[in-house]
Each structure stands twice: as structure tokens, then as C-alpha cells.
């Protein structure tokens, strides 16, 4: 095969990779190098592989992913800023046989939607929350988010985040893992192949949990925002690995199959 011509390569019979049928042909508005595109692709692939296109309802956020409904071919609702978990709560309770997920950024989920996120998780809603954490507001032009790292420069902390002024990076997944209503909280990334494979497994597991009625699943994707960070995609990935992973270490924070908490009640 080493002497393949270009013609051979583009011959459909020789294709070894294709995009999911659930990804539409709409050109994505995401910046080149952004993590959103990869995460969209993985979600579309999992829905396709599980054969649940007719049973899946997505809730889009306000933020860069506001147009997520243009890219994955399923039914969608577009929420107000931060309210996606409230919409998802009702959608799932009123249609319990459906797979319902929210797709939210760090501004949406950790700032304006903190209450909706915590309470939906705490009620044990059988929904999936996909959380893109790139430590910045992308859509509005690179302002500070609750997850912005200490010292990190943004449009609203141009001298770098000062914890005395702005508090500390919010590790919301750690907080959500403490809630009895969540069954699975994991932190993933999609900057290299091995991580993409792991992230996809996490997405699938989260969907399976939701239909098994185990409670809320949260999949955080530690992500890049090369436009907001003002770095090349390559440098963004490097910066993420060196800085973001220290504050937001990858891995499972909770998996109820492994560490099922038992109530600490002893009858003497």
C-alpha cells in the first residue's frame, strides 16, 4: 500500500475514517484548534453507535456552543444562559425513555448556572452534563470565568487573575462529585488520540448511566481556547497540559459502580 496515489487515497473504497452520519454538513463556527469540534464529533459518534438518535435530546447553552444544534442531527433545545440543567430536568422527567444531555461551557455552568447545575445533580436527575472548561468566556471575547487560573490574563483581569480580588479557580466537578445525586463525575481532555479515546468511553458511559437511572453524570472536558488565550492551537495544548491539568487533573472523580457510598448509619 506504500505506493498509493492521491487518487487511491480519496477513493471511497479505501476510506478508513469518516465523520459520523450525525454530524451535519454545516461549517462549524468554532475557531481552528478549539476543543468543541472534537467533543461534538465524539458525542455524535456515541449517539450513532448506540443507535439512539431518535431518543436523544440535547440542550445547548449560551456561549460558544450556542449553535451546537446546527452540528449534531438530533432534536435540540436552546436554553437561556446557565439554565440548561433546568430544561434537561423537565425534558427527562416528562420523557423518561429519552437520553437527555446538556452541553455547557464554564461561564454557563460554573457562573450563572451554578444553582441549576448543583440542584439538577443533587436531585439525581438522570441526565448527562457535558462541561467544556477552557477557563475563559470565549463567545463574549475572552473575559474571566470562575475557572480562570490564578495569574491568567483575560479581558476582565488584564493583569492576571488576582485571587484576593477575584477568588479562586472553581473546581466545580470536585464539588459535584460530593453530591449524592451524581453517579459519575469525570475529567477528560481531547488534545491527543489516547485522551480522545478515553473521552469517548466516558461519554458512552455517561449516556448508559442516564438510561439505567443511576443519577446525574458529569463529563468535564479540560479544553483550550486558543483565540481567548491568544496562542496558537499547538501552544494552547502545551499550555493546557502544563497549567490547566495541574489545577484540573484528569481522571474519574466519582464512579458509583466503583465507589458506591453507603450511608454512614450504624444501629447499635
Amino acid at each position: 500500500m506504500c505506493n498509493m496515489t492521491t487518487k487511491d487515497i480519496i477513493n471511497p473504497a479505501n476510506l478508513v475514517y469518516s465523520k459520523s452520519k450525525l454530524l451535519t454538513d454545516n461549517p462549524m463556527h468554532y475557531c481552528p484548534g478549539c476543543s468543541h469540534g472534537v467533543v461534538h464529533k465524539l458525542i455524535a459518534e456515541v449517539i450513532e453507535e448506540m443507535g439512539i438518535q431518535d431518543k436523544t435530546i440535547g440542550v445547548a447553552p449560551v456561549g460558544c456552543a450556542v449553535f451546537a444544534y446546527n452540528y449534531i442531527d438530533i432534536d435540540w433545545q436552546e436554553a437561556a444562559h446557565g439554565r440548561a440543567p433546568a430544561l434537561a430536568t423537565a425534558i427527562k422527567r416528562l420523557q423518561p425513555d429519552k437520553f437527555v444531555f446538556t452541553y455547557q461551557g464554564d461561564g454557563d455552568l460554573t457562573a450563572i448556572g451554578t444553582a441549576e447545575t448543583i440542584h439538577a445533580c443533587n436531585r439525581g436527575e438522570n441526565i448527562v452534563i457535558f462541561f467544556i472548561n477552557n477557563a475563559i468566556y470565549g463567545m463574549t471575547g475572552g473575559q474571566m470565568a470562575p475557572t480562570t487560573l490564578e495569574g491568567m490574563k483575560t479581558a476582565t483581569c488584564p493583569m492576571g487573575r488576582n485571587t484576593e480580588l477575584n477568588g479562586y479557580p472553581l473546581k466545580i466537578s470536585n464539588l459535584l462529585a460530593e453530591l449524592d445525586g451524581t453517579c459519575y463525575v469525570t475529567r477528560q481532555s481531547v488534545q491527543k488520540l489516547a485522551n480522545i479515546v478515553r473521552a469517548k468511553r466516558a461519554i458512552r458511559k455517561a449516556f448508559e448511566n442516564s438510561i439505567a437511572g443511576k443519577g446525574a453524570s458529569v463529563v468535564e472536558f479540560v479544553s483550550t481556547c486558543n483565540s481567548g488565550w491568544k496562542m496558537s492551537p499547538h501552544d494552547s495544548n502545551k499550555w493546557m497540559e502544563e497549567n490547566m491539568f495541574a489545577a484540573y487533573p484528569l481522571g474519574d472523580l466519582k464512579d458509583s459502580e466503583k465507589n458506591n457510598k453507603t450511608p454512614n448509619i450504624k444501629i447499635q
Partner: protein, 359 residues
């Protein structure tokens, strides 16, 4: 024989919701309407009709749950009182913008701010003129009896689905809290999934191979497309104005003076009218039942026949602006109102009528 029950207006809302086949209620406690959710929790409709009842973490969450449920084509509702309604305005604007049907109940208390838990009608502007951002309208029903609290649940849902627009029952704390005899409607089954898919082909019921994906959104960044959406909304509101005006006129045929009032105050005005007639004054009462669409034409027609109008409200004078617009300067339109949770007496209204109109 009809089956009369004695109950509070708030309780009546809960019974009516279950009986009309509602799919979901999402609420947050606030005085003076907490009995709506309390009654639902006692009646446990999830065990009988399958209706979902959920206490949300805030009014913001509750209205956004309504948004999510409405997007699924379900018959969903929420209820609250004035300060809670302020919080719901964001969601209401989105629901109106996304053109979804739902039912909202506001049992009004006095404001501004935390105000008072006593009854008021001071959310007329908020409810009828907007409240949230953007050019939208709600279908506003103003009950004056507990029976109307029952009847307007079904009516509100029907209008909401007919026009794909939120409908709201704008009740005052009196109607919410007072007990009266009511006749409850027979049970109507909840719609099946097939029926929802048929009636609401736009709903997020899961994308089947035979249709495009459904997207519930109020977002459109192209200015020309967004203006078109607004023009379509406005055309819908004009259609509602044409078809859905509801009002009640008492003894307006021979009247020299007319009292215009909505909700429970209209009933007190009827008493003032009787007292005035005993004294030989020809007084009538016009009660708008729909506040949007407002009975502009009936009031305009009345202004050709009567000498003057007194609008009576439990606020500083809100609906009176719409009455004046309808009358358009043809005859004097005066206002009498009480605030802070004070309910005017029939005698007080009669005295205001004599002072301001008859002189």
C-alpha cells in the same frame, strides 16, 4: 346534581390542572400561592394521571423547567407571586420568543420589592406590557371568582396551544386565598406520545427518520430574519386581539357612569353599583376578563354612551392607561386605587365615584 366543592382559589388551580390533563407543574414556594404546589403534592397526580410535580430550587429554575417541558409539546405550568414573577421574566421572554405554549399563574401580592404578602394588582404593567425583554405579549386572563380559577386553567392551556404562546392567569391574592364553591370539570386524559407528536410536530420528542431535527430556540443573528420573526409574532398578537377579547358588562346598557375593574375588585364594584343604583345613579360595571387582548373596542363603544368612567384597581393606576387609550379623550376617565395590600370597600368606591364622576 352538580358536584359542588368548597375550596381556595389556589387549591382550585391544582385540581383543575390535574383534571385538564396537565403533564407537569414546576414551582417554588411563595406566599400567597403556596397552596397550589402543596395541593398537588397532596393529590399525588403522578400516581394517577402520571403528571410530574416538582419543587424547583428557584423561580428561575421553575420557569426554565417549564421552558424545557413546553419544548417537548407537553402541557406544563408554573405558579408564583409577584417577587417570584420578577425572577421568572427571563424564562417567560425565552418561551414567548421560542413560541411555546405554557400556563403561568401569578397570585399577586403588593410591591415593590419584598413588599407585602397582602393582595394587590400591581403587576398589571409587568404582565400586560412585557416584564421580560423584547417585544412579546402574554395571553392574560384575570379571574374574579374561584370558579374562574378552575375554568381558566383549561382555557389558558387551550389558548396557549392554539397560539403557541404563554398564557397567564393574573389573579390577585384575594382570589387565591378566598374559599368559594366550585364545580370541577371532569377528568380529561393526558395526551399520549403519539398525540403529542401529531399535535406538536415542532416538539423535541426525538428525531425520527421521517422528519428534520426539531430545534427549540429564540436565537437568530441575521437582522432581517430576526425582524421577520418579530413581524410574525406581532401578526400573531393582532390575531389574538381579533379573536380572544373577553369581558363582562353589568348594567352598562342604561348607565351614565361606568366602573372598570378586573379581578376580585370588579365584584366589589358590582356592590358599589347596586348601592349607587339604590340612590338613583345609573352606574354600570365593565370587567375585562382578558387583559391582553384588552377589551379596547367595548370600552370605546361605551365612551360614546356614558358620561364618564372610573377605573378602580389595587395599585397606583395601571390598567387605567389602557382604558384612557381606548376612550382616547372622548370622556373623562378617573382613577381610584388602594395599595400596600388594602382592599377598597364598596362604600369607599361609591364615595370615590360620587366625588370624581358625579360631583
Amino acid at each position: 346534581m352538580e358536584d359542588f366543592k368548597l375550596m381556595k382559589g389556589n387549591e382550585a388551580i391544582a385540581h383543575a390542572a390535574i383534571r385538564c390533563g396537565a403533564d407537569g407543574y414546576f414551582g417554588y414556594p411563595i406566599t400567597p400561592q403556596s397552596e397550589v404546589m402543596e395541593t398537588l403534592m397532596e393529590l399525588r397526580p403522578w400516581e394517577t394521571t402520571g403528571m410530574v410535580v416538582l419543587q424547583a430550587e428557584s423561580e428561575v429554575a421553575a420557569i426554565n423547567m417549564v421552558y424545557g417541558g413546553a419544548g417537548c409539546g407537553k402541557k406544563v405550568m408554573t405558579s408564583s407571586s409577584s417577587p417570584g414573577m420578577s425572577l421568572k421574566q427571563e424564562g417567560i421572554s425565552y418561551i414567548a420568543g421560542a413560541e411555546l405554549p405554557c400556563l403561568i399563574v401569578n397570585v399577586m401580592r403588593g410591591g415593590p420589592g419584598l413588599g407585602t404578602i397582602q393582595p394587590s394588582q400591581s403587576d398589571y404593567f409587568q404582565t400586560v406590557k412585557g416584564g421580560g425583554h423584547g417585544d412579546y405579549r402574554l395571553i392574560v386572563l384575570a379571574p374574579s371568582t374561584v370558579q374562574e380559577m378552575v375554568d381558566f386553567v383549561d382555557l389558558g392551556f387551550n389558548l396557549a396551544f392554539k397560539y403557541k404562546n404563554p398564557a397567564i392567569i393574573l389573579a390577585d391574592g384575594i382570589v387565591g386565598q378566598m374559599m368559594e364553591k366550585v364545580v370541577l370539570p371532569p377528568f380529561k386524559p393526558r395526551r399520549t406520545e403519539e398525540e403529542v407528536r401529531k399535535e406538536c410536530p415542532w416538539a423535541t420528542t426525538g428525531k425520527l427518520p421521517n422528519r428534520e431535527r426539531n430545534i427549540i430556540t429564540s436565537l437568530e443573528l441575521e437582522s432581517e430574519a430576526m425582524e421577520k420573526i418579530n413581524l410574525r409574532l406581532q401578526a400573531k398578537y393582532r390575531e389574538i386581539e381579533k379573536n380572544e377579547v373577553r369581558f363582562e358588562a353589568h348594567q352598562c346598557e342604561d348607565a351614565d357612569y361606568v366602573l372598570v375593574a378586573f379581578g376580585s375588585i370588579a365584584r366589589i364594584c358590582e356592590k358599589s353599583m347596586e348601592m349607587a343604583r339604590e340612590e338613583g345613579y345609573k352606574v354600570g360595571v365593565l370587567r375585562p376578563i382578558t387583559l391582553f387582548p384588552f377589551p379596547t373596542n367595548p370600552i370605546k363603544e361605551l365612551s360614546q354612551k356614558v358620561k364618564s368612567i372610573l377605573t378602580v384597581e389595587m395599585n397606583a393606576g395601571q390598567m387605567v392607561e389602557d382604558v384612557r387609550l381606548a376612550v382616547n379623550g372622548k370622556i373623562p376617565v378617573e382613577f381610584y386605587g388602594r395599595m400596600g395590600g388594602i382592599v377598597p370597600s364598596a362604600e369607599e368606591i361609591l364615595a370615590a365615584l360620587k366625588e370624581k364622576l358625579i360631583k
